[in-house]
């Protein structure tokens, strides 16, 4: 709710030949004891009578720099006055006259035309109403279909005012994407993203439809406890109340994590027995991987011939009945099926005699190369990619409104991370294009953007895709919330297309890079020393960056989460299988499962388990037993009849 109290004047605009007021900048002085500081928003009122018969101009500005100086002509005079003794200087009976002079950048002038230099008038600290006017929030705070999303509280002294982002410019279609920069370890990037997501979910306007978020957890337990309430202080609750955001964890969170190499223990830190039941395995098979082979193979591998062969496999072979030309019929669904096809081809070429070294126009060297690379994938991304058995994926087409889908790839091999990222985002895009995802807009949160879309380095599939989202995603409702430590190290088109930019505490070296030249030295200093919970926000409606404070997110922080819910140790294979079956069907008795899988090959057990998980039958154990198949008892080898040698072996060697 907007507070309409009018604060008292705090300063006065001054203009000299050396420091004139311009349409974009002005200077004002205040008392030495003032609440004004860098980032403060002020209102300048033209004094009555300056314009005959017209309402005075009102100018809003944000303080970008501050100066203090006394009437001391030269430092030497201070030395002389104190007779060279600094202690005496402090004891002088009179304190020199000094000034607090501030420089402010114009945020808005009313009326906007004609655009003129800022008048020499009184300066007031901005009230709620002023902040709304200054930041042009009035255009989207009210009206029939408001689109305001609370992002934080602008504070100056005792005054504070909610600051809102425009959903049309944060989540499309006018502009979109958010980029968060800040040094690590200060609970800025992740916390800001979590708070903002919560705010979006509560304030996303109904007329814009449904929205969901896909968050990639790329390090530690950062996003593993979004459904658990975190500790809040009274000040946080007060800020939540001021921002009209309910301090609560996310209602609907779905967790996805690949398995570890054993194929049964989940590769995530959310493995505490109380929570692991919510984590869905993320398992992909040949079909899921083959479409993104480009992600997994080195660029050198993807020559035109290999590319053509992969396309051939994808279009003509996978999931189809296929004759290999050597008399073998195949239906390739899994990596294991594909391997059988490759063996059949190689055998056919080697044994066929005179049929040369090509198969279906593809040279055997190319086929071997593709086979080697693809077979490596299931090894390198073991746990994510299954050699055989069904896949388990995000609920494409059934995304829920205001749900968060956390994909935990923190402990996945970088190659696997690339694959997960590329595939999930591509699928999001496909479904949003077809309007069949289940929601109209999706926020994709990616941390460590400098890793996935670096400013330099090779043109990877992931980088190309991120560029594509950045440049065209807003039309689809695919919105990228990216975070990184060093903005200068992220591809300029990715950060450049972010309509909204958030800065936490910044590294001084980073602030020295050319991307920050537009900021005043004072603003840079403030950025380099920002406390936890304070951010600088740039938004299309704001003509200057604005500092805001936000409450800590109402969810359990990652490192607190692992303390409250310590990850369980990896279970032995049998126990892990039991746990998964019990999760599907609570009637399952562990001992029966253990008896069932005793002495069975692990890959057979995994395949049966995956199938059971995919089907989700009412009687999980029965289905599992059926998939596992009958036990083939090991038959003892039949005793061979001995045949007497035709001639007894003589002792004589000759």
């Amino acid at each position: 709710m907007i507070d309409r109290r009018d604060p008292p004047p705090v300063g006065r605009v001054v203009a000299t030949e050396q420091k004139p007021a311009t349409p974009h900048q002005f200077h004002f002085w205040t008392a030495n004891e003032t609440t004004i500081g860098i980032g403060a928003i002020v209102r300048v009122e033209e004094e009555p009578g300056n314009r005959k018969g017209e309402a005075g101009k009102v100018v809003y500005g944000v303080v970008t720099d501050g100066f203090a100086y006394s009437d001391l002509a030269t430092p030497l005079h201070d030395v002389v006055g104190a007779e060279g003794d600094p202690a005496r200087a402090a004891e002088s009976p009179t304190v020199r006259q000094e000034i607090r002079l501030w420089t402010a950048a114009v945020l808005r002038q009313k009326p906007e035309e004609p655009l003129q230099p800022v008048p020499l008038g009184q300066v007031h600290v901005a009230s709620d109403v002023d902040v709304a006017q200054a930041l042009r929030m009035d255009t989207y705070l009210g009206g029939a279909e408001p689109t305001a999303i609370p992002v934080g509280l602008y504070t100056s002294g005792a005054l504070e005012a909610p600051v809102y982002l425009d959903a049309d410019f944060l989540l499309g279609p006018e502009a979109a994407h958010l980029n968060i920069s800040g040094v690590s370890g200060l609970a800025t990037k992740t916390s800001a993203a979590e708070f903002l997501l919560g705010s979006i979910f509560q304030h996303f306007p109904a007329h814009k439809g449904r929205i969901a978020a896909v968050c990639f957890n790329v390090k530690g337990p950062d996003l593993c406890f979004l459904d658990q309430p975190g500790a809040l202080e009274d000040e946080d609750r007060r800020r939540y109340e001021r921002l009209a955001v309910r301090p609560q964890p996310f209602d609907r969170v779905r967790y996805y994590a690949p398995f570890k190499a054993d194929g049964v223990n989940l590769n995530t830190l959310r493995t505490h027995p109380d929570l692991v039941g919510d984590v869905e395995p993320l398992v992909w098979g040949l079909r899921e991987v083959l479409d993104y082979a480009e992600v997994l193979l080195n660029r050198d591998d993807i020559d035109a011939k290999a590319d053509a062969f992969i396309d051939f496999l994808s279009d003509r072979v996978v999931d189809k009945d296929f004759d290999d030309g050597f008399g073998g019929a195949h239906r390739v669904v899994t990596f294991a099926d594909l391997e059988r096809l490759f063996r059949s081809i190689f055998d056919g070429l080697e044994l066929g005699g005179g049929r040369g070294d090509t198969w279906r126009t593809h040279h055997i060297a190319t086929i071997r190369k593709v086979r080697n690379r693809l077979s490596n994938i299931s090894t390198r991304a073991k746990g994510l990619v299954t050699d055989d058995g069904p896949s388990n994926d995000l609920p494409w087409g059934r995304f829920e409104d205001r749900a968060v889908y956390v994909v935990d790839v923190a402990n996945v091999d970088p190659l696997g991370q690339d694959l997960v990222f590329a595939r999930v985002v591509s699928k999001l895009r496909e479904h949003l294009e077809r309007r069949d995802l289940g929601v109209e807009a999706v926020v994709v949160f990616v941390d460590e953007l400098n890793k996935y879309a670096p400013a330099d380095g090779p043109e990877t599939y992931v980088k190309k895709m991120l560029l594509d989202i950045s440049e065209r995603g807003r039309y689809l409702g695919l919105v990228l919330f990216g975070a990184e430590q060093f903005r200068s190290q992220v591809h300029r088109r990715v950060v450049g297309n972010a309509g909204t930019i958030v800065f936490g505490r910044m590294d001084s070296d980073e602030l020295a890079t050319p991307g920050y030249q537009v900021l005043s030295p004072a603003t840079k200093i403030k950025l380099a020393t920002l406390p936890i919970g304070e951010l600088m926000v740039r938004h299309p409606h704001f003509t200057q960056p604005i500092f805001v404070r936000f409450p800590r997110p109402a969810v359990l922080r990652g490192r607190d989460g692992v303390e409250r819910f310590p990850p369980a140790a990896d279970l032995p294979f049998e126990d892990a299988v039991v746990r998964q079956l019990v999760k599907l069907d609570r009637r399952v008795r562990p001992n029966l499962v253990k008896d069932l899988i005793a002495d069975r090959r692990e890959e057979d057990v995994r395949r049966a388990l995956a199938h059971t998980r995919q089907i989700r039958p009412q009687d999980a154990l029965a289905h599992f037993r059926k998939q596992l198949g009958g036990r083939v008892a090991a038959a003892p080898a039949a005793a061979r009849e001995s045949v007497a040698p035709l001639n007894p072996i003589s002792d004589d060697p000759y």
């Binding site: 002509a73 201070d78 007779e83 009179t94 020199r96």
Partner: protein, 329 residues
């Protein structure tokens, strides 16, 4: 005072002028006593301030005034001067920051009314501005009229300062002092008050001759002379006085850093002179730069002057190149 009285007389036929005489930036010494009688010692002696415990009043008011004037027009050869005088008291308390507790200002026109055409005189009188007349003898030509006008401005300023000081004395706290830039002896109330001091920077008057004069003018830094009583002359009230050297004069000038302090004519003054002197020595810091009189100007007095100049009408300040002939367009 509305600015329009100048416009009114210009409309009545006065030839406009814009001339700020050089001398208007400061004042000359007013008439001073000559000769003195010993009070503290049989003859003028030099006393070191080493070991003197400075007086430390809880609050001190500093009083100063300014004057600004310019010729705004000529009726024939009779100048019409616009003058502005102002005075203020800035009180320094425990926070060591002066703030204004009293101020007053006045604007006046100085001319010779009977030398003005009737229309101009009528216009001037009709505006309500206070008119101060110079003598008929001085009104003949600018060479005499302008110095006469200047004296009237100084008188107006001194009167304003005196009024302000006397009003303040009535409200002076028990541990509050009033330091006046200039002499106390203009005012009966000031010259008799136990906590009023006059700090005189100009030394046009001569009180001693021979060895005593030499002792007074070659006073070492952080030393004072004996307390003496300047001889009464005219309407001046009796006061006690002594010289005080703030900065070493050697290498500069005899008057460099030299103050003359005035206080009430009372036996206690002699007893307090060392402590008052030590206090004023402490007032050397901060330096009153960039004022060229900084060696004798106390910073709080400088502060009052800065305050008054900041509030003075801006159109009385000479503009660079303002006397260049106007272009034909």
């Amino acid at each position: 005072m509305p600015r329009s009285w100048v416009d009114a007389i210009l409309a009545a036929g006065v030839v406009p002028a814009s001339y700020v005489p050089d001398a208007s930036v400061g004042r000359t010494d007013l008439e001073e006593f000559t000769g003195a009688e010993p009070v503290e010692d049989p003859e003028l002696r030099v006393h070191s301030l080493a070991g003197a415990q400075p007086l430390a009043p809880a609050a001190v008011g500093f009083l100063d005034g300014i004057e600004q004037w310019r010729v705004v027009g000529y009726a024939g050869v009779t100048p019409i001067v616009r003058a502005y005088v102002a005075a203020a008291i800035r009180l320094r308390g425990a926070d060591r920051r002066p703030h204004t507790v009293a101020e007053d200002a006045d604007e006046l026109a100085i001319t010779r009314l009977d030398r003005l055409p009737a229309a101009v005189r009528g216009a001037l009188e009709g505006t309500g501005v206070r008119v101060v007349e110079i003598s008929a003898d001085d009104a003949g030509q600018p060479a005499r009229a302008l110095p006469a006008a200047r004296i009237e401005v100084q008188k107006a300023r001194a009167a304003l300062e005196r009024r302000l000081a006397e009003r303040r004395l009535e409200a002076l706290g028990s541990d509050e002092w009033l330091v006046v830039d200039g002499v106390l002896s203009d005012s009966a109330a000031l010259s008799a008050h136990p906590r009023a001091l006059g700090v005189v920077k100009s030394h046009g008057a001569q009180y001693f001759t021979g060895p005593e004069l030499e002792r007074a003018l070659t006073l070492p830094a952080v030393h004072r002379t004996s307390v003496f009583r300047p001889k009464r002359r005219g309407a001046r009230r009796e006061i006690h006085s002594w010289y005080l050297r703030l900065w070493p004069w050697e290498g500069n000038d005899l008057l460099y850093g030299l103050l003359r302090v005035e206080a009430r004519a009372h036996p206690d003054t002699g007893a307090l002179a060392p402590r008052i002197s030590a206090w004023l020595v402490d007032e050397r810091a901060p330096l009153a730069t960039p004022d060229r009189r900084w060696d004798r100007l106390l910073y709080p007095i400088h502060d009052v002057e800065t305050y008054l100049r900041a509030r003075a009408p801006r159109d009385l300040i000479p503009y660079p190149a303002s006397r260049l002939p106007r272009t034909g367009s």
